[in-house]
């Protein structure tokens, strides 16, 4: 099984759940659940188990991200890419951004 390099970015406050780190490069298996290719759903669970430092309910809700967090894959809204079903590719640039409300 090969591994995938993925660049994760956290913005708008989500970084506070991940040790206040704004960018992190990770390597994950190309098939976290063999024989299926690794999807966004797998990645989010992997992040919860391996990276999350603070209260998981502020990152996840059910098997997806909580309301108010938007996921962007290679500079596009994940809704355009298949959301949880999107199959991660080597070199992907994935942003988790929390909406801001201040002014």
């Amino acid at each position: 099984m090969s591994s995938l390099k993925v660049k994760l970015s956290f913005s708008g406050g989500v970084e506070l759940l991940f040790d206040n780190i704004k960018q992190k490069s990770i390597e994950i298996s190309s098939s976290i659940n063999p024989p299926n290719p690794t999807t966004m759903k797998d990645l989010i669970l992997w992040m919860k188990d391996n990276l999350l430092k603070e209260r998981p309910e502020l990152f996840m809700s059910g098997d997806t991200v909580r309301p108010g967090i938007l996921v962007l894959i290679n500079d596009s809204d994940w809704e355009l890419e298949g959301e949880l079903e999107y199959e991660i590719e080597d070199g992907d640039d994935i942003v988790f951004i929390s909406t801001l409300h201040g002014g």
């Binding site: 962007l72 929390s98 201040g102 002014g103």
Partner: protein
């Protein structure tokens, strides 16, 4: 009171000369601005530069809503006010600055808290709405009222060193509920009073809101639906992210909408415009 659709006055030719010679703008653009009305909700960090630049550039009518009064601690970023305005209404203070800068701009100050009882009546008088508010309940309220009244919503936000900018309900683009059908948990929300904000970050986002409103008014916006992300401490400073189109199953703007009137947004969000300090403030 009725705007002259036909031509610019001599005073306008003199004042807006730098825009009249501008390719892609010119007299056509200037006349469109003159005949466009815009509503700025919030005369705070974002609303201050947005209102100033929209008045300066020649928007014919500006409405400004804010129920709050000017405090010294606002002046670190709310640069439409000044020390002599302490204690007076932010909406009135903004109107004073705008009238000093450009007496050709008709400015209406609304000293009210925008809520479900008054929002539709005010919003329907304007062509473009600028969300310069600071709380999630008012953001849902403004989104819903703009979809119901059919107005584009130029939404900005700023917190700490970060900012975001999106236009909702414009062309085939999404509304706020297409992206965020459910409000975030109240304990995940931080406001400027509790999270802090670098003043000039609101300046940058507020100016960009004014720009987007101008582009809509002069019908010069070919960009895809997008979210602009700013972070003062990142490189690059800005990233543009392509957003989904309007969602067919959006409860508000979709094919079979079930949200057809304004609701109780404080209850919906679990927090409101008047909550100055949520009890939990992790995010």
């Amino acid at each position: 009171d009725s705007p002259n659709l036909e031509d610019l006055t001599l005073a306008e030719y003199m004042r807006y000369g730098r825009q009249l010679i501008l390719p892609g703008f010119g007299k056509t653009g200037q006349l469109k601005l003159k005949n466009t009305s815009m509503l700025i909700v919030g005369a705070g960090g974002l609303g201050a530069p947005a209102a100033i630049y929209l008045a300066a550039t020649g928007v014919g009518k500006l409405g400004i809503i804010d129920h709050d009064t000017v405090e010294k601690s606002n002046l670190q970023r709310q640069i439409i006010h000044n020390e002599s305005r302490e204690g007076i209404s932010k909406a009135q203070s903004a109107k004073m600055t705008i009238e000093e800068l450009n007496s050709l701009c008709k400015c209406v100050a609304y000293e009210v808290l925008l809520d479900s009882s008054n929002a539709l009546e005010i919003v329907k008088k304007y062509d473009i709405v600028i969300d310069a508010t600071d709380n999630v309940a008012t953001r849902y309220l403004l989104n819903d009222v703009c979809v119901i009244a059919g107005k584009p919503l130029v939404s900005g936000s700023a917190l700490r060193m970060d900012g975001q900018l999106t236009v909702y309900n414009y062309k085939r683009g999404p509304c706020y509920r297409c992206l965020f059908p459910k409000p975030p948990p109240p304990e995940s929300i931080l406001n400027c009073a509790d999270g802090g904000v670098l003043g000039v970050v609101t300046g940058i986002i507020g100016c960009l809101q004014a720009l987007q409103a101008i582009k809509i008014a002069i019908e010069n916006d070919e960009s895809p639906n997008n979210l602009l992300i700013f972070s003062a401490t990142s490189y690059p400073l800005f990233r543009s992210m392509k957003l989904r189109s309007k969602k067919k199953d959006c409860g508000l703007c979709g094919e079979h909408p079930f949200i057809t009137e304004l609701q109780d947004y404080v209850q919906f969000c679990g927090s409101g415009a008047l909550d100055k300090s949520p009890s939990v403030k992790l995010l």
